[in-house]
Amino acid sequence: MRPTVSEQLEGVSAILTGIVADHLDDDYTRDVLLGAANIVLLLSRTWHGIPEFLRWDSAATAAILTMVGQTPPPPADALDIPALEKHHRHVRDCLEKSMPLIIADEAARAATVRHFRERVARFAFLAHKDN
């Protein structure tokens, strides 16, 4: 459906930088506006990758929790974004609380470090990929 969410966000960013910013005399206010417009532009390019990132991160985290005998919460509905976000927070909370167990278990510790690194790499990819 046009304009797509990405197109709308990109368009709003262009309005802020191309039209509104030119009429601001105050340097500070202009700087704040351009910063906000840049975030909107970044969101236009990344928002659609976020549910998949949350699903992957939650599933991989749940697998680590299982390694140290913890029962992860059941997965959320993949089409319900607020539920996905809530579930993601829940499994990450379990992971944080399980850290003493993980550090004491060589295999779980190695899996956790691998996951943390892959998470950074996937996040970086998400943040930089073009629409």
Binding site: Y28, I39, R92, L95, E96, I102, V113, F116, V120, F123
Partner: protein
Amino acid sequence: MSIGEQLTDWLTDELASAVTVENLRRTTAGFSRENWLFDATWEGSTHPLIARRDPAGGVLSTDRQVECAVLEALQHTDVPAPKLRWADIAGHRLGRPALIMDLVPGTCDSFVLNGDRPLSERLVLAHRIYDRLADIHLVDWRDSGLGRHLANPGNQAAAMALAHWETELAKVKAEPEPELAFVLSWLRANIPTNEAVTLVHGDFKPGNLLLDNDEVTAVLDWETAHLGDPHEDLGWITNPLRAYEHQIAGTWEPDDLFQRWSEMTGMTVDVGRVQWWRVLANVKLTVIALTGVHSFLDRRSDRVFTNPIPLFALMLDQIGA
């Protein structure tokens, strides 16, 4: 009442004289404070001043009383620092805590060591900049009275700093941070002790200096200053993440910096201990970013801060995980 009117009233009361405030403008630099530059005229003289006000929502939570004590003590040392004129810790004057200082001549360039000037000039500049850090570590904090305002950690500077940043993290954490839990566990298991206790700047960098004719005219931003292990500053300035600000590849690298610092201070560098402080430096940067996130979520910030996920890979490298 506008901030210009508030400043006029404040200075008029302080000076018991008619004051005019002109050329007021807010700079875009810095997230931890609002910086307002202005000219104030009283009794026929014009004084360029800077007012630094706590933001409604910033990236650092620090003690303004301590900062005032440090600024005043530094006036009697070799460390160039702005002269504090007036302080309003309670925030009655500008709505939030604020300091007014003399505006020191000079310009600020975060990346001056990697600009387009000849290498030989940049190396001279590097020496001048980091010799000021040595000056900070050589401040006689007992003699200057700083011991009355700053806690002396003894040989537990690292443990005290770790506890401080864990407390700050607990205040601002908006969601689980298992990566930080992992790194903090390593820091706790490897806490070093220290021999010397010195004044520590806490955020020493070219971006917190003013340079005029290639001389350092002021070291700025003393809000994180405290007594501690000078290795803390050495870890901060040799953090690989900030190499482009602090180092000149192939010419002014950590070993060069350590050698120069040792010559200037007479103290030796424990490279293993520096590494511990580098990891804490990145925890600190993470907490600063999360403080920004917290302010944003509370609608107290005019910037959007996001979770500093990329920092975690560097911290994992640093702890050998």
